[in-house]
């Protein structure tokens, strides 16, 4: 059973030869390869080489086409500052609080900013691994992109003070994500992941998620499925238990759960949705391989009878994670196969 078949079976609650394991390795792949994060985030071919090298090194079940959370915002007009040892940050926002939202243009993924490099990364990943491992394309969610375009504080105040303008902004950011995701799938990505940290109940009340975000996530996932995605994946970190029950309405095949969510609660709330999680990200920096192994085996055993589970970190594997900890995660399920 190859990784694509394994993930496909997990999503369908079918039989797998072992628990699929997908640590969320983004630019940790660059650090592992000794490549500056800023270079990794500018060069699609380099990103693909690092992702494939990490997959060979650890033996996990997917690679990710993701540079940083600023790709879409930069393509729209935010200015980023790049760093060698961490992700790019926004130096100036595309949108001032009083700017007209209809003045923004949806960027063309084939020409705008680093989007074409990300498409090259997907092409190179598919050329390198074919249909052995899923290539997961990461698209920033509508609310998170709104924050990248005008700043987190300004976007949240806009949501509260001028809900109609905020909805207009969410409409725009949804169109950006839609076009970006469709282009990544057309370039060969197997899976579309929507990364929406700003939709967490730690950031906005669950009613905001339900009323403002859910319909737009539904739009994205529906379009990605029509564009041929093997699976859709919703990634929201933090204490998401109050909103998990909405995920099937959004059309998410895979639901990420962070360390703050009890996996059995999540399984009860989402009986027919594949879950991924939920090791504490910081454990990969601070804990030992033995501790990681124990936790991974515990999680795999919890879901053995149910199925519909991908062993994963609750959020991204930190850049500075100890490689032996990531290796311990993968070894925990491989040794049980």
């Amino acid at each position: 059973m190859n990784a694509i078949a394994r993930v496909r079976a997990a999503v369908a609650f079918g039989e797998t030869d072992r628990t699929p394991v997908i640590p969320q390795i983004f630019a940790h792949a660059a650090v592992l390869c000794g490549v500056p994060v800023g270079d990794y985030a500018h060069d699609g071919a380099l990103l693909a080489r690092c992702q494939m090298a990490a997959a060979r090194h650890y033996g996990h079940d997917a690679v990710f086409a993701f540079m940083d959370a600023g790709v879409e915002a930069e393509a729209v007009g935010s200015v980023l500052r790049y760093h060698s040892a961490q992700y790019a940050t926004v130096a100036s926002y595309a949108l001032a609080p009083d700017d007209a939202i209809d003045g923004l243009a949806v960027p063309d993924p084939h020409v705008a900013g680093r989007m074409p490099e990300l498409l090259r990364a997907v092409t190179a990943l598919r050329a390198g691994i074919g249909d052995e491992l899923p290539v997961v394309a990461v698209v920033l969610g509508p609310m998170s992109l709104a924050q990248q375009l005008m700043g987190a504080e300004a976007a949240l105040y806009l949501a509260a003070d001028e809900p109609q303008r905020f909805e207009e902004l969410l409409g725009f950011t949804t169109r950006v994500g839609l076009r970006h995701g469709q282009a990544l799938l057309a370039a060969g990505a197997h899976v579309a992941l929507v990364f929406e940290p700003a939709g967490s109940p730690a950031v906005v009340p669950p009613a905001y998620f339900r009323e403002l975000l859910l319909p737009r996530l539904g739009e994205l996932f529906s379009a990605f499925r029509q564009a041929g995605a093997l699976a859709t994946w919703l990634h929201i970190a933090g204490p998401t238990a109050p909103i998990l029950g909405n995920y099937p309405r959004a059309g998410a095949d895979i639901a990420n759960i962070d360390y703050e969510v009890d996996p059995l609660d999540a399984a009860r709330i989402l009986p027919r949705t594949c879950l991924d999680g939920n090791l504490r990200s910081l454990s990969f920096v601070l804990d030992s391989p033995d501790e990681i192994g124990v936790e991974c085996r515990r999680l795999a055993a919890l879901f053995e009878a149910r199925g519909g589970f991908i062993l994963s970190s609750g959020c991204e594997i930190p850049l500075e994670a100890r490689p032996e900890n990531v290796a311990a995660m993968v070894a925990a399920v491989q040794s049980d196969s």
Partner: protein
């Protein structure tokens, strides 16, 4: 007073400001509006915001309303006798996120602390200089990314090296709150803004005069 409290809890800054002005025009002393209005509202929000039911947006709106009313009542800042203690807050060098930091600052201000905001991406030397200059009773560090952990671990020894060993160090934020106080070499790891405020309130009780 209840209308002021309700407006503050709703995060409705315009209504809260109108109500505060009405109370002042009716001759209600500033001190009473603060203790029975602003502080009561903060206490009620505090009680509502458990770790499971805490979101940044609602706290931001309450904090903004409290800040606007406090600015109306104390246009030149709160008099020294009204503050519990002075604390410094920063996002450590390497972390440019400041939403969490700003929210903690608002919560602490609402609870009567004087907060010195040393900004985001704050170098250790700036933090130390700020702690010495004020002087502060606690340094608060807000971190959204794990890569700042080495910076956080350096703070307490550096304070001690400058004779500021009694200054408490509190960490919080999405990344730092995953670690223990021992792992970060700090006095306390706050799970939420209010959790951190509780820790400081225990150490530095309210001014009763």
């Amino acid at each position: 007073m209840q209308r002021l409290i309700d407006s503050l809890i709703d995060g409705n800054r315009d209504a809260a400001l109108t109500e505060a002005r009405r109370l002042r025009a009716a001759g209600v002393p500033v001190e009473r509006i603060v203790s029975e209005g602003l502080e009561t509202a903060m206490e009620q929000v505090d009680a509502k915001c458990t770790v499971e039911a805490f979101n940044l947006l609602e706290i931001m709106l309450v904090g903004r309303a409290v800040t606007v009313v406090a600015g109306e009542l104390y246009p030149r800042g709160a008099p020294p006798g009204r503050t519990r203690a002075t604390v410094a807050i920063a996002s450590p060098e390497g972390d440019v996120h400041d939403l969490g930091k700003n929210i903690v600052a608002m919560v602490l201000s609402g609870k009567g602390f004087r907060v010195v905001d040393l900004g985001r991406d704050c170098p250790l030397d700036t933090l130390l200089e700020g702690a010495r200059r004020e002087p502060v009773v606690a340094v608060l560090l807000s971190g959204l990314i794990t890569t700042v952990i080495p910076q956080v671990r350096r703070v307490r020894p550096a304070l001690a090296g400058r004779g500021l060993g009694s200054v408490k160090v509190v960490a919080g934020g999405a990344a730092l709150r995953q670690a223990s106080a021992e792992q970060l070499d700090v006095d306390y790891v706050a799970q939420t803004a209010f959790d951190g405020a509780h820790y400081l309130e225990t150490l530095f009780p309210a001014v009763t005069s």
